[in-house]
C-alpha cells in the first residue's frame, strides 16, 4: 500500500517533506529531482511571482481586467506540475497561473485571458480553459480521464480548485463518478483557508477536506501545500495510481492566499495582518530558497540573474498581450457554432452597419 492508500484523512498528520526552515524532515519522501530541476523549480516560482505582481499592477493602472492573485499557490502548482507529463490534461479554476504556465501555456496567453480576450483560452497546451463557476470543472476532468481509459491512452487529468469549491455539490458528484467509472483523475484541492471572505471553518465542520473522499470511496490525503517537495512526491504517487490503475485521488494541499482574493477584494476587511504574517513565515518560495542556501545551490548573483530573466519574460508577455489585435465583430459571432445560424448572420451584418464594416 502506498502512502496515499494508507493515509487516514481523519487522523493522520499533514504530509511534509521540507519544514519551514528549508530542512528535509522526510528524506524518504524527497522527489527524484536533480539539483538542476530543483533550481528550475525555484526560478519558475520567481517568474510566477514577478508575473503575478505585474498583472496585479496592470489592473490597478486600468490595463487589465479583474485579476486573481496567486501568491501562496506556487508550491502546489509548480510542484505538482513538474510531476505531470505534458500530454496529461490540466483543468484549472481561475487562480492557476502557475500550473497553466508550467504545463505549457505561454505567459502572454495567460495574460491575454485576464485582459479580457477569448484568444487567451485558445492554446495548444493540454490545459482546459479557466473555469470561473466554482466547483464545476472537476467533473470535466473526470470525464476526460474516463475517456482516456476507454481509449486506452496513458493520460491522466488533474483539476485544481479551492476549499470553497468543496462545498458545491458538483465536487461530490465528480469524486463519485471518478470512483464508479474508474477515472484516473487527481483532485487538487488548494485549501488556502479562504473563499473570498469566508474562512475554511465556515465551509464545513468536517475536520479535513481530504476526508470528503471517504464518501466517494476514494483516498484522500492532506499535504503541506507550501512545501514544493511534498507536493511533487504526493502528486507523483497519485499520478501513478491514476496512470497505472485508473484510480482517482483527492489531495488537500494546505496553503494560504497571501494577496487579495482578486483585485476587487480588500482582504483587510476579514483577516488580520498578524494572521498573514504568521503564514508568511511558511512562504513556499522562501522555504525553497532556504533549502537551496543550506545546500550551497544558491548565490546572490544567480538570484539576480533569474530575477532579470523573469523580468524580461514578463515584459515580453505584456508586450505581446497588449499588442494583440483588437476584437472584431466577426470574432464575437463566428465561434458560436461550427456554421453560423441565419439569425447570427443577420445580426452580424446589422452590427457591422454601425461600425463601418470592420
Amino acid at each position: 500500500m502506498s502512502l496515499i492508500e494508507s493515509f487516514n484523512p481523519l487522523t493522520d498528520p499533514m504530509i511534509q517533506v521540507m519544514n519551514e526552515s528549508g530542512e528535509i524532515v522526510r528524506p524518504d519522501l524527497m522527489p527524484n529531482w536533480s539539483t538542476e530541476k530543483i533550481k528550475e523549480a525555484y526560478a519558475t516560482m520567481i517568474l510566477v511571482r514577478v508575473a503575478d505582481a505585474k498583472f496585479t499592477n496592470m489592473q490597478r493602472q486600468g490595463r487589465c481586467g479583474t485579476y486573481p492573485s496567486v501568491e501562496g499557490h506556487e508550491a502546489i502548482q509548480i510542484g505538482s506540475g513538474f510531476e505531470l507529463q505534458k500530454t496529461d490534461w490540466v483543468f484549472p479554476a481561475f487562480r492557476e497561473l502557475p500550473i497553466c504556465y508550467v504545463h505549457g501555456m505561454p505567459l502572454e496567453k495567460i495574460l491575454l485571458y485576464w485582459l479580457g480576450n477569448e484568444w487567451g483560452s485558445h492554446t495548444d497546451a493540454c490545459v482546459a480553459p479557466v473555469s470561473i463557476p466554482v466547483g464545476s470543472h472537476m467533473l470535466h476532468a473526470v470525464g476526460y480521464a474516463w475517456a482516456m481509459r476507454l481509449q486506452k491512452k496513458p493520460v491522466i487529468t488533474v483539476s485544481y480548485f479551492g476549499d470553497g469549491a468543496t462545498s458545491e455539490g458538483d465536487f461530490y458528484e465528480a469524486m463519485n463518478f471518478a470512483g464508479v467509472n474508474k477515472a484516473g483523475s487527481i483532485f487538487m484541492c488548494q485549501n488556502n483557508n479562504y473563499a473570498i471572505s469566508t474562512p475554511r471553518s465556515k465551509q464545513t465542520v468536517a475536520k479535513t477536506l481530504a476526508q470528503k473522499a471517504i464518501s466517494a470511496g476514494i483516498p484522500g490525503v492532506v499535504v503541506d501545500g507550501l512545501d514544493i517537495f511534498a507536493m511533487a512526491t504526493v502528486t507523483k504517487l497519485a499520478a501513478d495510481r491514476a496512470r497505472n490503475n485508473n484510480e482517482p485521488t483527492l489531495i488537500e494541499a494546505i496553503n494560504y492566499r497571501y494577496g487579495n482574493h482578486t483585485t476587487s477584494d480588500d482582504s483587510g476587511r476579514y483577516r488580520t495582518k498578524e494572521e498573514v504574517e504568521e503564514w508568511r513565515k511558511k512562504d513556499p518560495v522562501m522555504r525553497l530558497k532556504l533549502y537551496l542556501q543550506k545546500n550551497n545551490l544558491w548565490s546572490e548573483a544567480w538570484e539576480q540573474k533569474i530575477r532579470e530573466d523573469a523580468d524580461v519574460k514578463v515584459r515580453a508577455a505584456v508586450e505581446i498581450g497588449e499588442n494583440f489585435p483588437v476584437q472584431t465583430v466577426d470574432e464575437i459571432f463566428d465561434y458560436m457554432y461550427e456554421k453560423p445560424t441565419p439569425a447570427l448572420i443577420e445580426q452580424k451584418e446589422y452590427l457591422k452597419g454601425f461600425l463601418g464594416n470592420q
Binding site: 463557476p133 471572505s197 465556515k202 476587511r269 464575437i332 439569425a343 447570427l344 454601425f354
Partner: protein
Amino acid sequence: MILTIADAISLALKQEMAHDSTVMLMGEDVGVGGGVFRISDGLQKLYGAERVIDTPLAESGIVGTAIGLAMAGMKPICEMQFDGFVYPAFDQIVSHVARMRNRTRGKLTCPLVIRFPYSGGVRALEHHSESPEVYYIHTPGLKVVCPSTPYDAKGLLVAAIRDPDPVIFMEPKKLYRAIKEEVPEEEYTVEIGKARVMIEGSDVTVIGWGAMIPTVLKAQNILAKEGISLEVIDLRTLSPLDTETILESVTKTGRCVIIQEAPRTCGFAAEISALIMEKALFSLQAPVERVTGFDTVMPLLKGEDLYLPNEVRLIDGIRKVMGR
C-alpha cells in the same frame, strides 16, 4: 436622503430586518465581508450571524435550504453573488421554489427573495455580466423585479420581502453607484407589477428596464432636441407584466421600440412585441422594433462594448419606426 441604488437596497434590508425578526439574509460573503458589492455592509454586526449568514459556497444549498426555511415561516433573502452563479440553484428555483404553492394547492408556500446583481458594462470576468431575466420570467410561479432607480430599488425590495410569493430581484450592477436621488428614509413599498411612465411623450413609446434605462434617457435627451418626443416606460417589474401601461402608451403613440441587454432570440422584448401585436395592432403605425443584445455568449471585456446595446443603436431603431 440622497441615496444610490446600492444604498437604497442596503437601507431596505436594514429596515425590513429591524421590524420583522423572521427576515434573514443568506449568501456567500454577505456577513463579515458585507457582500462583494458591500450591500450588506454592517448588517451582521447589527443583527448577528444567525440572521446575516455567511453560507458555504453552494448556491443550490442556499436556495434549497431557504425553501425549507420559508416553508417553516422564515423570510429568507438569498443573495446570489453574480448573475452567472445562480445556475447551480436553478434546479431548486425551477423545480421547487416556483411550484410549492401550486403543488400543495396553497397549503405550503415559498415566500423568499432571491437577489442578484446583473448586467454588463463593468469590465468584469466571464459569468459576471449576464442578463438572464427570461429564464425566470418564463418560469410560472416566480415574480421578477428589476429596478433602475434608487427610489424603486428600495420600494420594490421592501415589497418583494413582504410578498407572499417568491420574487427574483435583479439589481443592475452597472447602476449600483452610478445614480443618486432622493429616497424617503421611512419605509414604503412600490407595488410589484406596475410599470412607470418615466417621461411622457407622443411620438414613440420606448420600453426598457434595469441597466438599459440610462441608455433610453440618453436617447430621449438627444431626440428631444430634434423634436422627436419619446414616451419612456421603465417596466420595473418583468413578471407579472403591467400590460395596461404598455398598451395605453402604444395606443397613444402608435410606435414602439423595446430595448433589452439580453440576447435577442426569445428575449423579453419578443414577448412584449407579441403582446402589442395581439392587443394593439390596429394602433400601430410601424412594426414594433427591438434593440437587443446578440445571440452570442456575452463577450469578455475586450468585446463587451460591441455587444451591449447603446444609444446609437437605440436611436437607429427609433428612426426606423419613425420612418426617417
